[in-house]
């Protein structure tokens, strides 16, 4: 963050307007933007970003403010920060399999690597995280382990959301047993299944302490 960003954060802090910033993190294609869009639609209106079956669709951090989540008397005002998927490798050939031409694929790969760096850097600017995993996939990946380790080291509150429970082959129970020390909420960002449970968990976890 530049000096102006920091100054404006400081001013907002003084005037008490700095909202709780919640980052949505996870590997590419987990459904982060789908979830960010759903949260925005449910509590603010509008969308956060583009969704695609091609990995690394989000290559820049995108934010949406003015989101107020309510449950009875309890409410939580947050900014949602949708981050680029984090990966240890980016191979442009993979994008060509989705029909991109070579030049486009290489450009996407370059932007994707920059997006990964930006996502990691943003760990220093957020107050809490929804770590989104694809519940049809093995949860024991390095990306999941590295993100979680960094959240633990920074003592950031985290909710793990096991996404895509609408799909055959989804095993959210595997995810629960993989990370027993964390709260795991099975959801479908696409259909909205269990999304109310996620909102309740967010109110509990992310209320300013």
């Amino acid at each position: 963050m530049g000096i102006f960003g920091r100054l404006s954060d400081w001013l907002k802090n003084i005037f008490g307007k700095r909202h709780v910033r919640i980052g949505i993190y996870g590997p590419p294609n987990a459904g982060k933007t789908t979830l960010a869009n759903r949260i925005a639609q449910d509590w603010a209106g509008g969308l956060v970003g583009e969704v695609s079956e091609i990995p690394h669709e989000t290559r820049k951090v995108q934010k949406k403010g003015g989101i107020v989540i309510k449950d009875g008397k309890s409410s939580l005002r947050i900014d949602i920060v949708d981050t680029p998927g984090i990966a240890t490798k980016v191979d442009f050939h993979e994008f060509m399999e989705y029909g991109l031409d070579e030049e486009e694929a290489k450009r996407r790969a370059k932007e994707a690597t920059e997006g990964v760096i930006e996502a990691i850097k943003w760990l220093d600017n957020i107050d809490g995280v929804i770590l989104l995993m694809d519940s049809t996939k093995n949860p024991f990946t390095q990306v999941n382990i590295t993100i979680l380790g960094n959240l633990e080291a920074r003592e950031l509150p985290v909710i793990i959301a096991a996404n895509k429970i609408d799909l055959d082959g989804s095993t959210p129970a595997t995810l629960k047993s993989a990370f027993p020390q964390h709260e795991v909420i099975p959801i479908s960002a696409l259909t909205g299944a269990n999304i109310d449970l996620l909102y309740k968990a967010m109110l509990r976890k992310f209320k300013r302490r």
Binding site: I145, N150, F179
Partner: protein, 111 residues
């Protein structure tokens, strides 16, 4: 043919974080596969991913890295700020592929 280098705890403990990550990435870029007796902290893992991203090009697609899930630090580890970091395997993404992984087992094939 790929070679696998087993790097002792002592070798890496002589280096600071930056030297350590430079060493690892240089070896991996040369095509080496490393098995670290003592793995990286979560912060080092994130830093290594950032450094890897800067090096990715048409010939180098990045790394494959596998370590175990972090265990919750014990009370004493918290107090002394020492975190358990367990064995880690790191190699070029085009040479090594994880085929199975759970809490206690990492199964990888080398191409």
């Amino acid at each position: 043919m790929a070679s696998v280098n087993f790097i002792s705890r002592a070798k890496l403990e002589g280096l600071d974080s930056e030297e350590k990550l430079d060493f690892i990435l240089n070896e991996v870029k040369k095509g080496q596969i490393l098995v670290l007796e003592k793995g990286l902290t979560a912060e080092e893992q994130a830093k290594l991913i950032e450094m890897t991203m800067k090096k990715i090009n048409e010939k180098f697609a990045g790394i494959e890295m596998e370590s175990y899930v972090n265990e919750k630090p014990t009370f004493l580890e918290r107090i002394f700020g020492r975190k358990k970091v367990r064995l880690t395997i790191i190699g070029p993404a085009d040479k090594i592929k994880t085929i199975y992984k759970d809490k206690d087992i990492i199964k990888a094939v080398i191409k």
